[in-house]
């Protein structure tokens, strides 16, 4: 059983980088710990290069048929790497100031990244489960890395408990699936389910239990309780990483399972996903109205956004066809755009957090004190709200398009109302920044170089995709599994 090394190259490079980082951390004395970041940066860049080399190729399967590298996998792996790069750049200065163990931070980050890469390529329940764990375990530690800060400990505990709880439920679900179909390969499951008609009730139960695992990851409604506390407690770059990368990993897992394995049972779980999506977005947006802490606000807003991404799943129909294709592409496109918006917003929160503070009141009069930062934050917030000509509107347009294509008009109306509610709290921050007199906050915020780079990249991407949405749309349509 020879292995197609080209396909596995990115993962190999990353694992190599992983180990080097561990060893370098061992060797370097404390005051030189800063050097580790460039090494990990190089590692991720290497993985990215390997991925880009794979970009155009036809689908390859290796490692016993488990590891599939198709356009879907490559696109999302690239997204993960970019998110990791941004997080690394964002956290470099943050870690030095907060006195967090840098060596371990980068090592764990890369481990989590590796987990994400593998989940994108795995088409079987077992590797999906294990990759999910590889994404989560380092994340628990990252969340709790600010050991002296009690909140960080609490964040880690809550994150940990909730995560292993939902994993246990997912495993139970997977065992039932295995029981019914006798296989864990997604495509195989679909075939078996189609072949032997199975009782509705067991189908509902098992699908639901499996979805719980991913529901937790993407902060869907009944499973999102942990999000605000964990984001607020953990270091902000970790919160950013969780809200973008690990949420996307959750979606990747969910999309694969729903679209490949269970699309036969679509009639069963479609209304349920629709209900979850609507509840998620409404809960996220409504509670966000009342938040005063910027990270908590972004947490709730990310719950709202998760609701939007979930929506296309509610229009999947049993016999496939263009509707599924459009829905899948819409979700992917939204994920691509969402990553940059969210990353940007968090990086501004990090940039201003240290000097000004993390409460929205501290943002008062930012427009006068640091106009550049304020304008950029407005760009990200209004993009999240979906105002053209920023990327957010294109993302929302694709979702609207997919949902209306699926003839679920009332879902579209619900989302429309949600966008209006959402605008209110995004505008609340903008209002605080521009319409209020310059408070006593610091004049002229000094933003470290790397952080400026992250913000610049995110802004350029948000504006570019806003004007030419086809960049995201084309990439998304090309990389659908269905």
């Amino acid at each position: 059983m020879q292995i197609d090394y080209a396909a596995v190259a990115p993962e190999l490079v990353l694992t190599g980088a992983l180990c080097i980082v561990l060893v370098v951390d061992l060797v370097l004395p404390d005051n030189r710990k800063g050097l580790i970041m460039p090494v990990s940066l190089l590692g991720v860049a290497g993985t990215l290069l390997a991925l880009l080399a794979l970009a155009g190729d036809p689908t390859r399967t290796t490692l016993g048929g488990m590891f599939v590298v198709d356009s879907f996998a490559v696109t999302l792996k690239i997204l993960f790497c970019v998110a990791a790069l941004l997080t690394l750049a964002m956290s470099y200065d943050y870690l030095r100031k907060e006195g967090i163990h840098q060596g371990e931070f980068y090592f764990l980050l890369l481990c989590s990244l590796l987990g994400m890469l593998t989940i994108a390529s795995s088409r079987d329940l077992l590797p999906i489960f294990v990759s999910l764990e590889l994404v989560s375990v380092p994340a628990f530690v990252l969340a709790g890395l600010q050991k002296i800060d009690v909140k960080s400990n609490e964040a880690a505990l809550k994150f940990f408990l909730f995560s292993i709880l939902s994993t246990a439920v997912m495993l139970f679900g997977m065992s039932l699936i295995y029981g019914i179909t006798g296989t864990t390969n997604l495509a195989e499951i679909a075939v078996r389910l189609a072949a032997t008609p199975v009782l509705r009730s067991i189908a509902v139960l098992s699908v639901f239990f499996v979805v719980v695992g991913f529901g937790f990851k993407i902060s869907a409604f009944p499973f999102q309780w942990w999000v605000p506390d964990t984001y607020e407690g953990s270091p902000v770059p970790v919160a950013a990483f969780l809200s973008v990368a690990s949420k996307t990993a959750g979606f990747v897992g969910l999309l694969q399972i729903m679209f490949i394995a269970f699309h036969g049972l679509a009639d069963v779980w479609r209304p349920f996903i629709a209900a979850v999506a609507i509840l998620t977005m409404t809960f996220g947006n409504l509670v966000a109205l009342t938040q005063r802490h910027i990270v908590r606000l972004l947490a709730y807003s990310s719950i709202g956004q998760a609701g939007y991404i979930l929506l296309p799943l509610a229009v999947v129909n049993v016999n496939g066809g263009s509707v599924n294709h459009e829905a899948f592409a819409a979700s992917i496109a939204y994920l691509l755009i969402y990553a940059f918006m969210e990353m940007g917003a968090f990086s501004v929160a990090v940039a201003y957090g240290r000097e000004g503070g993390y409460f929205i009141d501290d943002y008062a009069g930012l427009g006068y004190r640091a106009p550049g930062l304020a304008v950029v934050m407005t760009v990200f917030l209004f993009s999240l709200a979906g105002i053209p000509p920023l990327a957010g509107w294109a993302a929302k347009l694709f979702i609207f398009r997919a949902v209306i294509d699926g003839h679920e008009y009332w879902l579209a109306v619900a989302m429309a109302v949600n966008t209006v509610i959402a605008l209110f709290y995004y505008a609340k921050v903008v209002r605080r920044m521009f319409f209020e007199p310059a408070g006593d906050g610091p004049l002229g915020v000094k933003v470290p170089l790397l952080l400026q780079a992250t913000i610049a990249v995110s802004t350029v991407m948000v504006l570019l995709v806003g004007i030419l949405p086809d960049l995201a749309a084309h990439l998304a349509r090309m990389s659908t599994l269905v």
């Binding site: 294990v130 609490e154 964040a155 809550k158 006798g182």
Partner: protein
């Protein structure tokens, strides 16, 4: 032997695990209850593997991996619990609720 009995046993274990997680105040006990739930899944996998003996043996492989992953998680979990204990000298989950609303 009808497989249903085994499955009922595992769902019972699963439910007891859930009760343990929701009702027990001490974090370590919560961890134990979660082990229970994982074992329930394991039993399922093994019994299904036997039931579907003719087709595949994935069940057992899956069970193996669950056991290893459970061990890894438990390690990290305990580390977190100890960290909290060291900072707040309490392990009961009720008091660990600084961040709300």
């Amino acid at each position: 032997m009808p497989v249903a009995w085994v499955l009922i046993l595992s769902s019972f274990l699963f439910s007891v695990g859930i009760y343990g997680v929701l009702a027990r105040r001490n974090a370590v006990l919560v961890l134990m209850s979660i082990e229970l739930m994982l074992n329930a899944a394991n039993i399922n996998f093994v019994v299904f593997n036997l039931l579907l003996h003719s087709i595949s043996y994935i069940g057992q492989v899956f069970a193996l991996f669950i056991i290893t992953i459970a061990a890894a998680e438990l390690g990290v979990g305990l580390a977190i619990v100890i960290l909290i204990f060291r900072n707040r000298s309490t392990v009961s989950i009720d008091e660990v609720s600084l961040m709300k609303w």
